[in-house]
């Protein structure tokens, strides 16, 4: 049996990747909107995003809206593949118990 990807296999990071996976491949979401959709604290979300970024699963783009800095996040191609593999493995592991 395959092992579950430890980068995604944490409650917060699975929820983050599940949210970003719902966007198109070329779309991204701002940090505040992501935070709102996940109902996580900014500090907690940053911590987990850093781990996902380190694994190159999430791309981070810092830009400006007028004078306000905004950070946009997206699932990278690697990240999307890792998320799909994770979900497939998860379902396969649950299969025999159902």
């Amino acid at each position: 049996m395959d092992d579950l990807d430890p980068v995604i296999h944490a409650q917060a990071r699975l929820r983050i990747t599940s949210t970003l996976a719902a966007l198109d491949a070329d779309s991204s979401m701002s940090f505040p909107r992501l935070q709102e959709l996940l109902d996580m604290t900014a500090g907690n979300l940053s911590t987990h995003l850093r781990k996902l970024e380190d694994a190159q699963y999430v791309t981070v783009e810092k830009t400006h809206h007028g004078r306000t800095p905004v950070t946009y996040l997206a699932l990278s191609k690697t990240g999307r593949r890792a998320f799909e593999d994770y979900m497939e493995t998860l379902r396969a592991m649950l299969g025999p118990h159902a």
Partner: protein
């Protein structure tokens, strides 16, 4: 917001794999709601606006055998309802993709702007026809049909953008009602628009709400079943 958010200390750790699947489905469902809710709001808004608006106009004519609403307030009610419908469509459409960039945001913004442009085009065109001798009797047939065409086509565009089959059905229905109504002549065309147009929006809106409820109920007990798939 949900009560299911794990505590900060716990969410770095994995949960039971069944719980993990549920967490992912729950978040996926939340995203589906984010993209679906605007359609429901827009459809229900137009349902109320057309149903009340056109029936009020119809009641201002000799068409309504039961009671008569004064013509000027009826016209004001109708205008206010139509403008409210346009504003709600544009605002809700653009708020959906709030904080998002890329194709999803572009589609949402263009769609919102399309509503505003298309709905403003009808009264301008009508104004030009009036200035060139269109009679008030003809105008009574032109405006509802013009709006129906525009709204119907916007629904067809929405169906193509979001791969939304029920929206396709509504678009076709609105065009059929809008183009069919003038054949009944004024003021019966108002009655047709209110009942068959507004009524159809309301039925579709309620169906969307019920479908949403069913889906929420389903995903909360999917863990076992999803594992089978």
């Amino acid at each position: 917001m949900t009560n299911h958010t794990p505590a900060a200390s716990a969410d770095d750790a994995p949960a039971d794999i069944r719980e993990m699947l549920r967490l992912s489905q729950q978040q996926n469902e939340k995203m589906t709601r984010v993209f679906d809710r605007p359609t429901t709001i827009i459809v229900l808004t137009w349902g109320v606006a057309w149903f009340v608006g056109f029936l009020t106009l119809w009641s201002a004519t000799e068409g309504n055998p039961w009671f008569r609403t004064p013509i000027v307030p009826a016209g004001i009610v109708f205008t206010v309802l139509m403008v409210a419908g346009i504003i709600v469509s544009a605002v809700v459409g653009s708020r959906t993709s709030r904080g998002m960039r890329g194709a999803v945001a572009f589609q949402g913004t263009v769609y919102g702007i399309s509503w505003a442009i298309a709905c403003m085009a009808v009264p301008f065109f009508g104004g030009a026809l009036l200035a060139n001798g269109m009679s008030p009797e003809l105008a009574a047939l032109f405006y509802p049909a013009g709006y129906s065409l525009v709204v119907g086509i916007l629904y067809l565009a929405g169906a193509a953008l979001w791969n939304d089959k029920p929206m396709l059905g509504v678009g076709i229905w609105i065009i059929i009602v809008g183009i069919g109504a003038p054949f009944f002549g004024a003021p019966t065309n108002y009655l047709v628009m209110g009942l068959l147009g507004g009524g159809a929006f309301l039925v579709y809106g309620v169906w969307l709400v019920l479908r949403q409820r069913r889906r929420v109920a389903r995903y909360s007990r999917t863990d076992a079943r999803a594992a089978v798939n």
